[in-house]
Structures are given as structure tokens and as C-alpha cells.
Subunit: 207 residues, 2 copies
């Protein structure tokens, strides 16, 4: 079995392993992306290794080579979701300093796409599936801390001031709630009005 854990491992095994590893990594990514899409659209109950393999255009054998069990596939997909979310958050930094309303909008946007839908499906499935629960709980705590850290930086919030930490936490809870409100219906118009108002409140609170 070829373990593809990152670029470092590829380089230590020499250049002749490169193309095979690159193909393997592409296949793995296709499987993870398909797993996330599958979760977002069909939920945990409708997400099996076979369904994901077909969606990824990968043979069932190849899928099982990478992920021997359904659980290992979706645990890796949770990790993938988390990395995608972190990348999206880090991308906010690249544009340089931004006005708070834009930051709030970007933070809320993280909770309204396919990634949030997939994470929500896993979150809810983990509440009923003992096998999933520990990994998802640990991952959500990690992602939550990372999201909070980036939110504090982007908002220019000074957490040494009493209440500021809880202010930022509440904002992210609201973003999560807004994401939930967008699952069954397109909540875009209402959400824009709520975000505009709470950006003003946040600005007044953080100073």
C-alpha cells in the first residue's frame, strides 16, 4: 500500500516514485472531494465507499486501496473539509487589511457552502454513530479553535479586554446558526440584512 501523507514523503523515496505517487495523490483527492460532495448532498446514510468511488470516477478496488473502510474514507473527508476551511480562512489574509463588515461577511460565508453542509451531515451523524463521534468531536474542536484564532486576527479584536473573546465566539455561533438556516432554503437575502446589522453592532462593541 502506498501511503501518501504529504510532499516530504514523496521526496525521500526518490524521483522514480514521483509520477505514481502524484497519480495516487490525485486519486485520493478526487475521492475526498467526492466524499464531501456526497455527504453534502446525500447525508451519511446515503454515503458509501461505492457511491463515492463511482462519483470520483475511480474503481471500487482503487477506492478501497486508499480507504479500506467507509469510516476511514469519511474520517479523511472530515479532515479534508477542515483543511479546505482553514485554507479558505487563510486566503482572507492575502488581500491585506479589510473593513470589518467584509470580514464578518467572509466569516459567515464559510458556513453557507457545500463544506459546511458536509460538516453538518458528519456532525449530526456523529451524534448517533459512536464510531464517528470521537474523531468528529476532536476535529470540530480543533477547527473551532483555528477559526476563532483567525477571526480574532481579521477583526483586529483585542482579547485582553474582558468580553472580547466571548464577543467573537458569539459571532461565530451566529455564523453557524446562519449556515443552518441556509440548509433547506436559500436564506441569502435575510442573511445579508442580519450580517449588515450585526457588523454594525460588532463594530460598536469592539471599538
Amino acid at each position: 500500500m502506498v501511503a501518501v501523507t504529504g510532499p516530504t514523503q514523496g521526496s525521500t523515496q526518490g524521483s522514480t516514485q514521483g509520477p505514481k505517487q502524484a497519480r495516487s495523490r490525485v486519486t485520493r483527492r478526487h475521492l475526498l472531494e467526492a466524499a464531501v460532495s456526497c455527504l453534502a448532498e446525500h447525508g451519511w446514510a446515503g454515503s458509501t465507499v461505492s457511491v463515492v468511488a463511482e462519483r470520483a470516477g475511480v474503481s471500487r478496488g482503487a477506492a478501497q486501496h486508499h480507504f479500506p473502510t467507509r469510516e476511514s474514507l469519511f474520517t479523511a473527508a472530515v479532515e479534508y473539509v477542515a483543511e479546505e476551511r482553514s485554507t479558505a480562512l487563510r486566503d482572507l489574509f492575502h488581500a491585506g487589511p479589510a473593513a470589518r463588515p467584509a470580514v464578518v461577511e467572509a466569516l459567515v460565508d464559510l458556513y453557507t457552502g457545500a463544506l459546511f453542509r458536509a460538516a453538518l451531515q458528519l456532525w449530526v451523524a456523529a451524534s448517533n454513530e459512536e464510531q464517528l463521534r470521537p474523531q468528529v468531536t476532536e476535529l470540530e474542536a480543533r477547527v473551532g479553535r483555528e477559526t476563532h484564532r483567525i477571526a480574532v486576527e481579521l477583526l483586529g479584536a483585542d482579547e485582553s479586554v474582558p468580553g472580547v473573546r466571548e464577543t467573537v465566539q458569539g459571532l461565530l455561533d451566529m455564523a453557524r446558526g446562519l449556515g443552518l438556516a441556509n440548509v433547506l432554503t436559500d436564506d441569502t437575502a435575510r442573511r445579508a440584512r442580519v450580517v449588515a446589522q450585526w457588523s454594525r453592532i460588532l463594530d460598536a462593541t469592539l471599538g
Copy 2:
């Protein structure tokens, strides 16, 4: 088939129908309560008419008499969840005027119990099950409007002032997000700090 839709119908059919209807209503309520508990604990995939009947201590035949299909049982259970939530909200009125922090705490509490867990399971299932989606979408909109109306009253918010409507909406979105954060872990301590801080912010905003 005996349709038990409310006390009015019972009285129009004469007093001899009373005891039988009363028993039927009790059975129906047991089934609905069992359906809600089942959903909260096992999710949509683990919730069947048989499982609910066994949990309610009702024969499968009796359960099917009340709810011929899995869908009709859980559609009714969604309705039941909504009524329970409305009752819990109305109960807040009975104690008379309350301080805003207590109101915010009570509103948030609505999203952290078994009723929210059951509603969340249905919400997520409805996003993947076309048969459930229309009923759950309609019901959530109705419950959302009712919750908003009661929140406005309890908070003493004047919606004729620009931004106040969105302020209350954002608070309820935050409450929903706090409920979601409580699904996998006991988030009580963190939630109390966030609620205390945002009660202060809300008080300053609403005046």
C-alpha cells in the same frame, strides 16, 4: 379509523366515544414523544415505525393504525416538536416581565434540549430526503416566525426602529448556532459566558 385531531371533534361525537378517544389520544402522544426521543438519539436513519412503537410500548399494529407510514409518523412528530417549542415559549410569558439576560438565556435554552436535537435530525434528513423536505421547510418557517414574534415581545423590542428586527433575528441565529455547538459535547460553560456577554451587547443595542 378514529381520527383524533382535537378535543372539539371528541365532543361532537358524543360522550360514549370519550374514553376510547382519550385512550387513542394518549397512545398517539406516546408515539409522538417516542418518535421525538428516537430522532434525537438515533437520527433519521435509525428511526422507523417499529422502533418507535417498541419504545412507546405500543403494538406495531396500533402504531400503524395511527401512522400508516414512517413519513406520516415523523411529519406528525415534527408538528409535535413545533407545538412543544411554542408551549415552552408561551410559558415564558406566564411569569410576567423578566430581565433581558433571563429572556436571552431562556430563548437559547430552547435550542439545547432534546426537542432541538430532534428538529436538527429532521432538518438535516429533510435536506437529503425529498419526501420530507416540503413539510419540514414549511414547518421550520412557521416555527421561526412564531419564535421571532415571541422573542420580540419578551425582549420588549420595538421593530419600528430600523435594525431592531435584524438584531432579534441575529440573536435567534446565534441561539441556533449555540444549539448546534452543544450536539456533540456539553457546551454549557462556554455557552453561559457567550450568552452573558451578548445579553449585555443586546441590552446596549436595544436600549
